[in-house]
């Protein structure tokens, strides 16, 4: 499976998901501490009231069911915490006093900040929102419940319980009121967990908000970074691919990025490699030209020396060697002529003027150069206008025909066909004969590539003929191809060149 760089970075960004997790654990910790603190505070309240009552035992002589009054109420009120309820039971589990309210009186809350408002809907999904709308009655069962009972036994106790309608959690803490060694009553302080719950929620919202922002910002930054890198890499790849064509020739050299990082380095080294490759290719392609140029002078020395020698009086057997030397020279000459034809063409096509011509005229003249060979020529009825040089086109056709003549077997005529196809003119030269060797596919039109079997004494083949075809095809803005006939009975050489624009509707 192909995993793009971008996808990989997104995967890596998942590590950032640890941030919210850490925040969550941290807030949980805070909640635990808050609860602990609340328990301690409530217990302390109960203890303080119990201590106060311990000094004033007469206050416990109240009748059950009556509201606390006077000093008792004062003590309770002064020691009680906001939003807490305090009640006192005596040993007979009679409610001696009940002060305070579990519900929050002032509903005024701090206006939520921007972040909270933003996170609120998200947080609502996971957070339990405390409500002030719950049943705050003090059920009978609670008065005789375990918390009060424990205190009456002399042991302070605390307990979490649900409100009767289960909409709030109530924390109660009790403390015994001692009179000498006896417990005379129990003070029970109660509070909802709404306050801690709210604090917890606020903290949680903040954590969620902040980590969400951190996560999104981090992931976004990473993604942008990855996109940038991947874009640059893709561009580099495209450039590198476009730089070399299917035949391995360097089409253009990369500009080389100026970026001062590894990708920039890569681009620059690509550029250098391509430049060197291009130089080497040019060196190879110019080799034929240079060779022919460099060889010409020494050959002229040999030739003129032989010419001089021929004018001397020589022993009879010298004539044999003279003839052999001449033969060798003639072969060298052929090689040189072919080489220089290719190089001359290379420089020729660079600045040859282009004109409009009818390719049919050129095709019709093709057989004239090969008298004694049979041809089958097929040209369309209307002109095939091309833009280029007719004499070069003729030279190209001549090379194609010469190639077909050389490889043709039997006396089936060589088929030359010219036809417009879409915006192109397609020229095919086809002959019966052996198939193309697979290994050479795509290289036939390169300089000095030949598939001919080497025959000693035969004319030297440099593989420049089809190279010339390619040069001229490219001069006309087209391409050259070699294919096997569909039925495998021979070979088709095909040159596709664009028609002169405006000549086809």
């Amino acid at each position: 499976m192909r995993l793009t760089l971008r996808a990989q970075v997104v995967l890596v960004a998942l590590v950032l998901a640890v941030i919210p997790l850490v925040g969550y654990v941290h807030v949980k910790q805070i909640e635990r501490l808050l609860r602990e603190g609340q328990e301690q505070a409530l217990l302390a309240t109960a203890r303080a009231i119990a201590t106060a009552l311990h000094d004033r035992p007469q206050l416990l002589e109240l009748r059950a069911g009556e509201p606390a009054s006077g000093e008792m109420a004062l003590i309770l009120r002064s020691l009680a915490r906001a939003e807490s309820r305090i009640w006192i039971v005596d040993r007979d589990q009679r409610l001696l006093a009940l002060v305070g309210d579990l519900k929050k009186r002032s509903a005024a809350e701090d206006p939520p900040d921007l972040l909270t408002r933003f996170v609120h809907p998200v947080a609502a999904l996971v957070l339990d929102r405390p409500t002030e709308d719950f049943d705050d009655s003090l059920p009978e069962s609670e008065i005789g419940g375990p918390v009060a009972a424990s205190a009456l036994q002399g042991v302070p106790a605390r307990r979490w319980r649900q409100s009767p309608d289960s909409r709030a959690v109530i924390l109660s803490a009790s403390h015994p009121v001692w009179s000498g060694d006896d417990v005379v009553a129990a003070v029970v302080a109660e509070e909802t967990t709404n306050a801690t719950r709210s604090a917890y929620n606020r903290a949680m919202e903040q954590v969620i908000g902040l980590t969400l922002i951190a996560f999104v910002a981090g992931a976004l930054a990473l993604l942008l970074f990855a996109s940038r890198i991947s874009t640059r890499l893709v561009r580099l790849r495209d450039e590198a691919e476009a730089a070399i064509d299917s035949q391995g020739r360097v089409r253009k050299v990369l500009a080389g990025s100026k970026a001062r990082d590894e990708i920039g380095d890569l681009s620059r080294s690509f550029s250098t490699v391509l430049a060197r490759l291009g130089e080497y290719n040019r060196y190879l392609e110019a080799m034929a030209g240079r060779l022919s140029h460099e060889l010409r002078t020494p050959i002229a020395v040999v030739r003129s020396s032989l010419d001089n020698l021929r004018l001397q009086l020589l022993p009879a057997e010298a004539g044999v060697y003279l003839a052999r030397a001449n033969d060798g020279l003639k072969r060298l000459d052929t090689i040189l002529t072919r080489m220089s034809e290719a190089t001359r063409l290379e420089s020729l096509v660079r600045e040859h003027p282009r004109e409009r011509f009818d390719a049919r005229d050129v095709v019709r003249g093709a057989p004239l150069a090969h008298p004694g060979k049979k041809f089958e020529i097929d040209v369309p009825g209307e002109p095939v206008w091309l833009r280029g040089a007719p004499e070069l086109y003729a030279q190209m056709l001549d090379k194609l025909v010469a190639n077909a003549v050389d490889f043709a077997t039997g006396d089936e005529p060589i088929r030359i066909r010219l036809e417009p196809r879409g915006a192109d003119a397609v020229l095919t030269v086809s002959n019966r004969g052996p198939r193309l060797p697979q290994a050479m596919a795509g290289k036939l039109f390169d300089s000095m590539v030949s598939v001919r079997a080497r025959e000693s004494g035969a004319e030297p083949h440099l593989g420049l003929g089809l190279y010339i075809v390619r040069l001229i095809a490219e001069f006309h803005g087209g391409t050259a191809q070699a294919l096997d006939r569909e039925d495998g009975s021979g070979v088709v050489l095909k040159v596709v060149t664009p028609l002169e624009s405006g000549t086809r509707p």
């Binding site: 140029h293 010409r296 002229a300 020395v301 003129s304 010419d307 220089s340 420089s347 004239l368």
Partner: protein
């Protein structure tokens, strides 16, 4: 008196070999190894024909300079470039400098000798009384065989001698295809096919400079050229 052929060639072996052969064929030869000595020699005595190499020692284009100097001294002196360079650019430059021919060094000695004698023959024609047909007229084309002067629609066309002979050869029998070999024969030159192509291209261009619609020289692809009226 024997005709003098000047060879300017920086390669001593080739120079000596050519000099020997030309001497054996009855020419008087003055051989020079560089441009300075050649210029000095030409100042003293103008040869009847000059064989010039383009690259002369340190001067890659010394032959071109020499050719210009020689042309300035004599408009009719036959000049042949004999060089290892075979690019079309060099060929065209050489002909533009006023050379009558351009031969690469792989040309054989008989070819060179044929060319030298052809050029001498043509030079002789210039001095002899004009042939029976003094003026050849083919539509707008007028060839003055006496002065080797060509005109098209009464405007002079500045052709070199080789080009003049080629036009003459083509225009003599309009409609007949002249292959490259008979063109060479008629123009007294022995060159390779692409030199003929180059010559014809230059001829067309010269006529087109006078008349943009000129198209009297047809290419018959695969065969040669044809004058059409």
């Amino acid at each position: 008196m024997a005709r003098t052929v000047a060879i300017v060639e920086d390669d001593a072996a080739i120079r000596a070999n050519y000099a020997d052969i030309l001497k054996k064929h009855g020419y008087q030869v003055s051989a020079y190894g560089d441009r300075k000595s050649a210029t000095a020699g030409f100042r003293t005595r103008l040869p009847d024909l000059a064989l010039l190499d383009i690259g002369l020692g340190e001067e890659p284009d010394g032959g071109f300079t020499l050719c210009r100097e020689l042309r300035a001294m004599s408009a009719a002196l036959p000049i042949i470039f004999l060089t290892a360079r075979d690019s079309d650019f060099d060929l065209v430059s050489g002909l533009r400098m006023g050379a009558d021919d351009y031969l690469t060094k792989d040309a054989s000695m008989p070819q060179l000798l044929a060319r030298i004698s052809a050029l001498f023959r043509r030079a002789d024609l210039l001095r002899e009384p004009p042939a029976a047909e003094e003026v050849l007229e083919r539509g707008p084309l007028r060839l003055d065989m006496k002065r080797f002067h060509a005109s098209w629609r009464d405007a002079p066309v500045d052709l070199t001698l080789t080009e003049f002979w080629l036009v003459h050869s083509l225009a003599r029998y309009p409609g007949h295809v002249k292959d490259r070999e008979s063109l060479m024969r008629d123009a007294h030159i022995v060159v390779d096919d692409s030199t003929i192509t180059s010559h014809v291209k230059r001829i067309r261009r010269k006529f087109q400079a006078v008349d943009g619609t000129f198209n009297a020289i047809d290419s018959v692809y695969g065969l040669g050229y044809r004058w059409n009226n």
